[in-house]
């Protein structure tokens, strides 16, 4: 999608022809095990590149209520708490990410969730795109 800022990592996100955001992962050919994120130097004989399902259910969650230390955190000095969770994507893999689309106390285990693009501003003010999961509401569904 043209209105998205550059991805925070070149090997993290995939936008398909319809503009839908997907997560890049790898499948170990021998064991069939999914690996996310895809290993940086994935040996193509060992791993094949795959895209993860976009929907799943919230497996656990919490709220990050204090600003993480920098480094590694690269966000601006001004801080607003954000929710974080693990989402079980079908029967594929459980992925950790930021949660959005609901108040901080609006998340519950087993909620239906969908992958969304999440704008992320670096301390320098530059904008990047990362991913988050948002509840699938009646209206959006």
């Amino acid at each position: 999608m043209p209105d998205l800022a550059p991805p925070i990592d070149d090997r993290l996100l995939h936008v398909d022809a319809d503009g839908a955001l997907m997560l890049l992962a790898a499948r170990e050919r021998e064991s069939g095990r999914l690996v996310f994120p895809a290993p940086g130097d994935a040996d193509p004989e060992r791993y094949e590149s795959v895209l993860l399902p976009r929907e799943g259910r919230l497996w656990s969650w919490t709220v990050q209520r204090f600003r993480p230390k920098s480094p590694p955190y690269a966000g601006p000095e001004a801080f607003a708490p954000y929710a974080v969770g693990y989402v079980a994507l079908g029967d594929a893999i459980i992925v950790e990410g930021r949660l959005t689309g609901a108040p901080l106390d609006g998340f519950a285990i087993d909620m239906k969730m969908r992958l969304v693009a999440e704008p992320f501003t670096l301390e320098s003010g530059e904008r990047r795109t990362t991913f988050a999961f948002a509840p699938i509401t009646e209206k959006a569904a």
Binding site: L34, W61, T62, V63, F66, P71, I94
Partner: protein, 382 residues
């Protein structure tokens, strides 16, 4: 092959000691252990020691004496202390030496740890976007556990309340004031459902344990405990660990559960034989989950156990009798050895105001850390 005994122990108080480096706290603990046992540094044939962030243990010889002993530095993250003891235990068990020391110490800056993604084999974005925090992991592990097994926030608070009550009775603890459950529940939320008083903090401190062969222990005639098992295990497939961008759908065992099983098997005892336990309590929820992972109760039974006070000093299975990490803080290199220190002190009847009554015989200790490593030790009164 010899049985292995702990015949002496020393501790530098945990918390913050501005005037001493971590290394100096280590030296303090070694001297205290030697002094209490009536031994001299020249009697010590070998040493294992380490810290995560406070320097190289073997440089202690310039303070303690240049006796030429082999001094092995151990650097194994959160399992540094446990690994030092494992090294000393194996060395005596093999018959190579019959009197040695395991020492762990640390000194961390205030606040949460600030890991570097590359050092953990992770891409930068994971840290940059604010996902790489140990506190988030602990919160999400207990959040799910509470939902699956009916554990309440009040039970989380009761664990912390017990820790501060026990810490008030322990000379080496950092937090020496009781804190009531209401204060714990209403303190600042750090990572839901865990409040400030439910988390331990990085801290400072040091512990030294003197280990001996059976023959040496008998000839010394000191108060002693027999090390019936020491097991260190890394993570099995499907475990849930800190700094995991993803988890396998097929869930598995934890490093704690496999270390625990190995230790019970080695010791030839079961959880029902244990009289007191020191369990990793990085936060309140960890103690609750580790009760089940170490085999003391089934998932969900903690709710009743804690409501009935079974894990208090006067309960049927006292847990974290010196207040654990919650009251002592967590100097990584020393934390696991503190647990063994506490069991040694309890089983030799030297625990004073926090002494477990009823003639305890078997003590159990369990340390857990990143990136998924657990060490379990089982000791028996000699």
């Amino acid at each position: 092959m010899s049985d292995v005994y702990i015949v002496g122990a020393g501790i530098h108080p945990f918390g913050r000691t501005q005037e001493r480096t971590g290394l100096q706290q280590g030296v303090f603990a070694v001297r205290q252990a030697l002094g209490r046992a009536g031994l001299d540094w020249r009697d010590i044939q070998f040493a294992y020691g380490g810290s995560d962030a406070a320097g190289k243990a073997d440089t202690m010889v310039s303070e303690l004496g240049l006796t030429g002993l082999p001094f092995i530095n151990v650097a194994n993250g959160c399992a540094t202390g446990g690994s030092a003891m494992f090294g000393a235990y194996s060395t005596i068990k093999s018959g190579e030496f019959d009197l040695g020391i395991a020492v762990g110490f640390d000194k961390h800056p205030r606040g949460a740890f600030d890991p570097k993604p590359a050092e953990w084999g992770l891409p930068d974005w994971y840290g940059e976007t604010g996902l790489m925090l140990t506190t988030q992991f602990f919160a999400m592990k207990i959040q799910r556990y509470m939902a699956m097994h009916g554990i309440t926030n009040r039970t989380l608070a009761a664990v912390a309340e017990k820790a501060f009550a026990n810490g008030a009775l322990a000379d080496h603890a950092w937090r020496r004031e009781p804190v009531d459950a209401e204060t714990i529940l209403s303190s600042t939320m750090v990572s839901d459902p865990l409040t400030k008083f439910m988390f331990c903090s990085p801290a400072e401190g040091a512990v030294a344990l003197i280990l001996a062969s059976e023959a040496k222990a008998k000839s010394l005639g000191l108060p002693a405990v027999r090390l019936r098992a020491v097991a260190v295990r890394s993570r099995p497939p499907g475990s849930f660990e800190v700094f995991s961008p993803a988890l396998d759908i097929a869930r598995g065992l934890s490093p704690t559960s496999i270390a625990s099983r190995a230790a019970y098997e080695m010791a030839g005892v079961g959880p029902e034989d244990v009289d007191l336990a020191q369990l990793q309590d990085t936060e309140s929820g960890a103690e609750i989950m580790h009760m089940a992972e170490n085999g003391f109760c089934a998932d969900g039974e903690q709710q009743a156990w804690i409501a009935e006070g079974r894990t208090r000093i006067d309960g049927i299975l006292p847990i974290n009798t010196d207040g654990g990490c919650l009251a002592c803080g967590e100097p990584i290199g020393a934390s696991g050895l503190r647990q063994v220190y506490e069991n040694y002190v309890q089983l030799t009847g030297q625990a004073g105001a926090r002494q477990v009554t009823g003639d305890p015989r078997i003590g159990y200790s369990h340390v857990y850390g990143a990136p998924g490593v657990s060490a379990v030790a089982i000791v028996e009164r000699a």
